[in-house]
Subunit: 257 residues, 2 copies
């Protein structure tokens, strides 16, 4: 039965979308069936895999959430055998306003995707850099949350706010929600700052932090402009190796649960 | 009479807060009286200037917006003669939900700060990485919007969404809103990608894009952990020089309006 995991951090630009695409790809290469859901109106996950907004007009997560289309009609194959994409475009940003006053507004995404679990091993949901209704919906649709943390000063500040929001969701909306893991990203070996941030995270969350660390790598920032995961765009580089290690570590932690 | 400018881009991690602090500081060194308003519940602007959330509890932008305190009681002096800070903490994130159903909810910030204009030459408002109620409030409180754009692939995608939102705000809520300028940030001279993104931005927005470009610089990412603007933390480095050039160019564009 598929496990649903939200990738979230309200701090912007920390590597949420990059981790979704590349962890998803590495797991698909290890034979797992993976669905990526683009839950951010910026739709970077869709464009990072080469899907342009004009190609999917009227056939996105938004149409599923408003019951206009079924998921089966919207889900796209990718160029990679075990990986599928449920795309989005900027229409999704209007949805939060449309449903703001509706009852059970926090659970729309959960009910929209519950029938998909049986078809995949893992379903990852990308979230926008905020703790608004889209992110809360993604939390309620997920079993756990994977938190990328950029190895920079501001990134430390936001962790307590994010964990507080997760606790509130767990207490009030979704009791089984838990932390999947913390991933250190954009680690720059040239700077003291990266080490200081990494040490601080490990002091507080040692058992929950992946030993695989994603280095800052220009190739990783170039890959989305080619619409490819790093494991395809620059297979032998540091970026690809680090996400490959993460994929293996992520899987090994599943059985230990 | 002070000019109010929002610094905004819904794409996360593009250098909004970094530009607010450092452009503000450079203008203060040129003799302008500058107020920085932390309009993001992440409160990175406050912590980037060394102000910790516990020190300002009960005395932030939130208390002004709910009419519990006057701005004069909340505004802090900084270590720099011509620069002041109106701080925030995570309480601000609850405000958007509290006021979601109130009439004139888009104008609360505008009325809260209108009496401050006479005391400053420039007032800059930091915004969160979203186009929600906080950002709309900041737009309605401002004359113009300064848009930092990171020289990376995903950053290009979001510009049209941001400009569309600005147009809607201009048509429906605030007719005098205009684009202050576009700032290219985190330009990495080692990569083709930076040049491609910069060229694309210049093709579409040549007259509105500052010729001053902010390079990617480790010192810039270290400065906030010391609570200092880059012009103080690493005065002779590339980061400080680029924001100093921006300060001068920003001022020269004011008179040309
Ligand atoms: N390890 C890395 N090294 C260098 N660049 C990276 C790395 N990971 C991501 N990037 C780049 O940094 C930027 C931010 O990453 P990404 O968009 O994945 O973050 P995000 O958290 O999804 O952002 P948002 O908050 O806007 O959704 C992107 O331009 C991406 O290509
Ligand atoms: N020119 C630069 N070179 C290197 N690092 C930078 C530069 N500008 C900003 N940074 C760092 O990049 C990260 C993102 O910058 P910043 O927090 O200012 O962006 P933001 O747009 O305000 O993010 P958010 O969307 O979360 O509000 C921070 O860790 C910051 O220190
Ligand atoms: Mg993203
Ligand atoms: Mg910011």
């Amino acid at each position: 039965m598929g496990k649903v995991i939200a990738i979230s951090n309200q701090k912007g630009g920390v590597g949420k979308t990059t981790t979704l695409i590349n962890l998803g790809y590495e797991l698909s290469k290890l034979g797992k069936k993976v669905l990526l859901i683009d839950g951010d109106p910026q739709a970077n996950c869709s464009s990072g895999l080469g899907v342009q907004s004009a190609d999917i007009s009227g056939s996105t997560l938004y149409e599923i959430l408003i019951n206009k289309k079924t998921a089966a009609k919207v889900i796209l194959e990718t160029a990679y055998p075990n990986m599928w994409l449920l795309p989005s475009n900027s229409n999704l940003s209007g949805w939060q306003v449309e449903i703001a006053a509706m009852p059970k507004r926090e659970y729309f995404m959960a009910s929209a995707i519950k029938n998909l679990k049986a078809q995949y091993d893992f379903i990852f949901i990308d979230t926008p850099p905020s703790l608004g209704l889209l992110t809360i919906n993604a939390f309620n649709a997920s079993e756990s949350v994977l938190i990328p943390i950029q190895c920079e000063y501001y990134a430390l500040e936001g962790i307590s706010q994010l964990l507080k929001t997760m606790r509130l969701v767990k207490e009030r909306l979704h009791p089984s929600l838990h932390l999947e893991g913390i991933l250190l990203t954009m680690y720059d070996i040239r700077t003291k700052l990266s080490k200081e941030v990494a040490d601080a995270v490990l002091r507080n969350f040692k058992h929950k932090t992946y030993t695989s660390i994603i280095p800052r790598s220009v190739k990783l920032s170039e890959a989305p402009s080619h619409g490819k995961p790093i494991g395809v765009y620059d297979e032998t580089g540091l970026g690809a190796k680090s996400y490959k290690l993460l994929g293996a570590e992520f899987l090994s932690r599943q059985s230990v649960a």
